[in-house]
């Protein structure tokens, strides 16, 4: 098992190297940052001085190495637009995105698993069929449209919930949270639904399919033949056996929740890293874009690593094959 973990970590590092290369390449291929940083009235001397100061006169490999060296230390340079360290800006914006992703991920997971089990057990029931049909809408509507519809209904027509922003936040020094104030919580509801709805329907359909598959297995029949209660069969015997594929997909989805947050954050003007990234694109603020890219890939890789570890926790067959050498 240890060998497996080491191998996976090595693979993850390789992935990060490649992403780092892509992120770094942006600096070279998306225009000359010097043009943007210095105004119209500039001299050749200014340009040379800045170029030297930023290290842009060095060869590609050296620049890439320096970039990685700095990136590992959390230093992504100065934002072209704001003139402040990128890491500072990211840290400022990150809590908003993570809180949003956390709430909508939790919602998607809890709702998806519960509805998935329900629709699998009552697969001929009317309510299960209604849920399944409704879930098609959730899968097929684009995120921004759901967001706009929700804003129209709950903010414009009913006026119950705010349509943009994060509400009042509490500053804990290293973290700003919207969980502690009423307006912060209220502001969280619509974006969380918008972001989590698609993931929820996806998880629900996955759990349902897996569950139906497992309920046909011999060991479920055998458990029935032993007189085990339906509740225990559904939750103890069946649900656990559906978890491996569910965790795989959920892990990937959690990554994309953070990535998809770009759209939701734009619709709701949510002050997170996604919105920061969109603004950075508009202003060709490459250090911010590169840092965002690296951040997302670290998260994806990290989540996948955790998912791989979870397999071991769930399925004893994997554990045994590594530690005891089989049967």
């Amino acid at each position: 098992m240890l060998a497996y973990i080491i191998r996976r970590v090595a693979q993850s590092i390789l992935v990060l190297f490649v992403v780092g290369l892509v992120a770094f390449s942006m600096f070279r291929f998306v225009g000359d940052p010097i043009d943007n940083m210095l105004g119209q009235e500039r001299t050749q001397a200014d340009i040379e001085r800045l170029r030297e100061q930023l290290g842009l006169d060095q060869p590609f490999v050296v620049q890439y190495w320096r970039f990685l060296e700095q990136a590992v230390q959390g230093n992504f340079g100065l934002s072209y637009r704001q003139g402040r360290p990128v890491s500072e800006i990211l840290i400022e914006r990150l809590p908003a995105t993570l809180e949003l992703a956390f709430v909508s991920g939790l919602m998607a997971l809890a709702g998806g698993i519960a509805l998935g089990i329900f629709t699998a057990i009552r697969r001929r029931g009317l309510s299960a069929n209604i849920i399944m049909t409704a879930s098609l809408i959730g899968v097929s509507l684009p995120t921004f449209l759901i967001g706009i519809l929700l804003i129209y209904l709950f903010s414009v027509e009913l006026g119950w919930l705010p349509s943009f922003g994060r509400g009042e936040v509490t500053d804990l020094g290293w973290w700003t949270t919207g969980f502690l104030t009423e307006s912060g919580l209220k502001a969280l509801i619509l974006p969380a639904i918008t972001l989590g709805l698609y993931q929820m329907t996806l998880i629900m359909r996955l759990v349902r399919t897996e569950m139906l598959e497992v309920l046909r297995m011999d060991y479920i029949r055998f458990a029935r033949a032993r007189g085990i209660r339906e509740r225990a069969i559904n939750f103890r015997h069946a649900l656990k056996n559906t978890l491996v594929p569910v965790i795989t997909i959920t892990g990937l989805q959690l990554g994309s929740i953070i990535a998809f947050a770009i759209i939701t954050e734009t619709v709701f003007q949510w002050p997170g890293v996604g919105l920061l990234f969109i603004n950075a694109i508009q202003f060709v603020d490459i250090p911010v874009m590169a840092a965002y890219l690296m951040l997302i890939s670290v998260m994806f890789v990290g989540i996948n690593l955790i998912v791989d570890m979870l397999y071991f926790a769930i399925d004893p067959r994997l554990r045994a094959d590594r530690t005891q050498g089989g049967h």
Binding site: D218, A223, A225, R226, K240, P316, H327
Partner: protein, 329 residues
């Protein structure tokens, strides 16, 4: 042994409604099994053997359903009971053993989890006592070092050992009746013999009634006290195993025996029963076996075969074979 049979099936009919009409995978089947007795049920695939077992234990897959007949467990009818009441009978009064031990055990729960769960469900004992009984159950089916193995997962056992675990699971709440649905089919031949011997031993020691569903005549000859031969959903022949195997009265049983290789017969060419069993949707008129029967007469083509209780109680045939008649190919 008491007079009341542990299991009594009377005129059982199972039907499956389909778009092309109603199928009858089990048609007017009646038999008894007494305590300490093994009833072998044989027949080709699709003859209704397993369906009968599933009907008894109340695990018919929809849309199959019992439309008439009676199932009495120690004299008590079990139809009409609520679902939860039947569930409580399963495991406690009747256990079931499935064909494939590789898929019958939940791969994510330890053997001990599955055993104690069943024991706690049916017997009024505490956690410690349940665990003690689980270990005893494993020992009884011949699992070495049961106290340690109880914490193992199913994949850590071999196929034969897993089938022993399955048997321990089916018996751990001490049922009076065990339905063994092809318990040896998925196993190696050498392991098959062990499992058959184990079933026989448990049956004798505990006085359990066993319904042994199989298509293996060898297993029947080895284990069963009486044998029921099924064909196209009906009982073709029912009788003590020695008589049925040596002096078959129903032409189908005779054909089945003639097509079973026996070491004692040397290298004789095996006979086959011509044709194959009809599909349930396309049963011939008259006796279902007549198109394949070499003794078929006009009566067999026109009138449905007799049920067992309307003839001699042994072979459901208008013209049962006498001792002298031999099947010729």
């Amino acid at each position: 042994m008491t007079d009341t049979p542990v299991l009594s099936v009377r005129d059982l009919v199972v039907e499956i409604p389909t778009r092309h009409g109603v199928l009858r995978p089990v048609d007017n089947v009646s038999y008894d099994i007494h305590a300490g007795e093994i009833l072998g049920v044989v027949g080709e695939s699709g003859a209704g053997k397993s369906m009968t077992g599933n009907a008894v234990i109340g695990l018919l897959d929809r849309p199959a359903r019992i439309v008439s007949g009676e199932i009495l467990l120690s004299g008590q009818p079990i139809q009409g009971l609520k679902r939860d009441a039947i569930r409580k009978l399963r495991g406690k009064k009747m256990g079931m053993i499935f064909q494939d031990p590789l898929t019958s055990l939940n791969p994510l729960l330890t053997v001990g989890d599955q055993l104690t769960e069943t024991i706690l469900e049916h017997l009024k004992v505490g956690q410690t006592e349940a665990r003690k009984r689980a270990i005893a159950a494993l020992e009884e089916v011949g699992i070495p070092a049961a106290a340690q193995r109880i914490n193992s997962y199913p994949h850590e056992f071999s196929g034969g050992m897993r089938q022993r675990v399955v048997i321990a699971l089916a018996l751990c709440a001490e049922p009076d009746l065990v339905i063994a649905d092809e318990p040896t089919t998925a196993l190696d031949v050498s392991v098959q013999a062990q499992i058959v011997a184990l079933l026989k031993r448990l049956c004798r020691e505990r006085g359990v009634a066993v319904m042994l569903v199989t298509h293996d005549m060898g297993v029947i000859a080895e284990a069963a006290d009486r044998v029921a031969v099924m064909y196209a959903g009906r009982l073709a022949e029912l009788g003590p195993v020695r008589e049925v195997l040596t002096q078959a009265r129903h032409p189908y049983t005779a054909g089945l025996m003639a097509s079973t290789p026996l070491a004692s017969q040397g290298r004789k060419r095996l006979r086959q029963i011509p044709g194959s069993m009809p599909r349930l949707g396309a049963l011939p008129t008259g006796c279902a076996f007549h198109p394949r029967c070499e003794f078929a007469q006009d009566k067999c083509r026109q009138e449905p075969g007799p049920t067992l209780d309307r003839c001699d109680g042994r072979a459901a045939c208008w013209f049962p074979l006498t001792a002298k008649q031999e099947v010729s190919a």
